[in-house]
Symmetry: C2
Subunit: 322 residues, 2 copies
């Protein structure tokens, strides 16, 4: 399905704003409660949770040409938008609650395509228990599509980056690298794993891997911390191996630098590491868990065997930076 | 100041993502709490309010070429983004709490301009007690700037559209029309008035005027409701009179159809209308308040004196619709 209308009658401009919003809300409907809790008013009005919980908020988007392209199925692009946000909530161990969906699109964008996008987003949100309670649509340059979700979840405690201590053990879920071969569209955010980790007080810090281990691992650590890493333990995906065969870049470098893994990287007190590893594996037998190394004092990453740590990771502006 | 970098060294692309985010957070700083409550992590972690309040959420944006242009001072564009959102919260009678700020910008956008935009947004947010707790930045087409704020407030009850009853009296704050002569950038959201109205149980419905009375008044009413309006009571701004002299369109039509007034339109039980009018005027002596008419059964608007009700209002896509 083309994202740009082939017939003028399928364009956003032709349909007009009111009808456009109705079509999107209809396509989203499995995820939409009714007003005043849902779309339709100036705001959505939600019942406040008890004051024993933290309200956790995040915003993330997908943009045509950056996070999906004209060959991407619109349902998959909509699903990706939702799971990118769910992945941020998972890193905070927060249970998904509700979200606002905003679009900026060219007047030439296909209404059919938008409906399919919204349908994919609504279905993914509903499956995760995330309600889409409102949003906004505005006109941007022709040929442009940007969709953002601002998402709220609730957590029993603050699980975030930068709270690990010296000696804490580092773990990562899943297999890494080569995401552009398909994983970047079809990953499932580690929602249940994140909530479970949040329930373990010995887990001291957590982040999701969106830009690659090479960038997100330093991001997990506090400013004066580094890590010793067993590079040979890096869980390398089949896609990273496959890419390596075609482009000659080591699979390990793909695993560290490609980005869009949407796995969880976390730190846990060393005395609880064995216990956690065993319990996690029993609780989530389908989710690979790998011990990577430990947090140190002093900045920088070093390999336990003296190998070179790949530098890179994804940057949204400018040249790639370490 | 040019929104598009004149020197390559002032471009977003040149600076790189990490530095760009630091610059924006610094420019926003009066409005930013520190992490985990503020920017810096995957999410912001907020203390939940008591369960006696409704959490009220909304999202709204500003886009170059739609809501501001290259001649607009960047601080004013940033301020407008905040007040557009505050106006939605005001319509819900919600007290501003916190917001997430997301940008989609071309790689050629000026960093200096962005900092000034963020500075204007941060200053306006701080003045309103709104904390900016996180955000996102992503690259869009060259020359493109879109900024969205997703905003949370808290209210003691649900004040929204569509809840008025037959016979309720309609009031509007301020003077209407001709917003494009300057008001659209320099308005102040009716935050305090909105919170006060929310505290009056006799106020049954409320909305802010973003697209013009001609579109927002029907939006305030329930599906099977209409209104009888005293058109001669319409509060017409000086700007609408001025525009009328230059373009020949009646000032009344400007007042009904121009949009971007960001005033409050609300309904109140008839028996409390005189009381409210008197108390409002005493409480907010600087804020004009005008009685416009009353809610009726049966759709459509009619003038008490038989004059024609202007049709129009702003639509973001397609041709203008009634």
């Amino acid at each position: 399905m083309s994202a740009i209308a082939r017939e003028p009658t399928d364009s956003a401009n032709h349909l007009g704003e009111r009808e456009l919003i109705e079509r999107i809300v209809t396509a989203l409907s499995v995820a939409c409660p009714i007003a005043p809790r849902g779309p339709g008013g100036d705001c959505a009005h939600l019942i406040t949770q008890t004051d024993r919980l933290y309200r956790v908020v995040t915003v993330d988007g997908v943009i045509l040409g950056r996070h999906f392209d004209l060959s991407t199925a619109p349902e998959a692009a909509g699903r990706k938008l939702v799971h990118r946000n769910l992945s941020d909530l998972a890193a905070a161990g927060a249970h998904p609650s509700d979200a606002l969906l905003s679009f900026v699109i060219g007047g030439d964008v296909s209404v059919q395509w938008l409906e399919a996008f919204a349908h994919g987003a609504g279905k993914a949100a509903h499956a995760a228990g995330l309600e889409i309670v409102g949003g906004d649509i505005a006109r941007g340059p022709d040929g442009h599509i940007a969709a953002h979700l601002s998402t709220t979840g609730f957590a029993h405690r603050i699980l975030t980056r930068g709270q690990a201590n010296e000696g804490d053990v580092l773990f990562v879920t899943g297999k890494l690298g080569g995401s552009r071969l398909g994983h970047h569209l079809h990953f499932a955010a580690r929602t249940i794993e994140g909530e479970w980790l949040c329930g373990q007080p010995a887990v001291t810090a957590c982040t999701d891997l969106s830009d690659g281990l090479a960038k997100d691992l330093p991001g997990l650590l506090a400013k004066n911390q580094g890590a010793t890493i067993d590079l040979s333990a890096t869980p390398i995906s089949e896609a990273a191996e496959k890419l390596s065969k075609s482009d000659g870049v080591p699979a390990l470098e793909h695993a560290w630098c490609d980005g869009e893994d949407y796995e969880l990287l976390f730190a846990i007190e060393a005395s609880r590491a064995d216990w956690l590893e065993s319990l996690f594996t029993k609780t989530f037998p389908q989710t690979p868990l790998q011990r990577l190394g430990a947090v140190t004092v002093g900045s920088g990453l070093s390999d336990t065997r003296g190998a070179k740590i790949p530098q890179g990771g994804h940057s949204h502006f400018g040249v790639k930076k370490a």
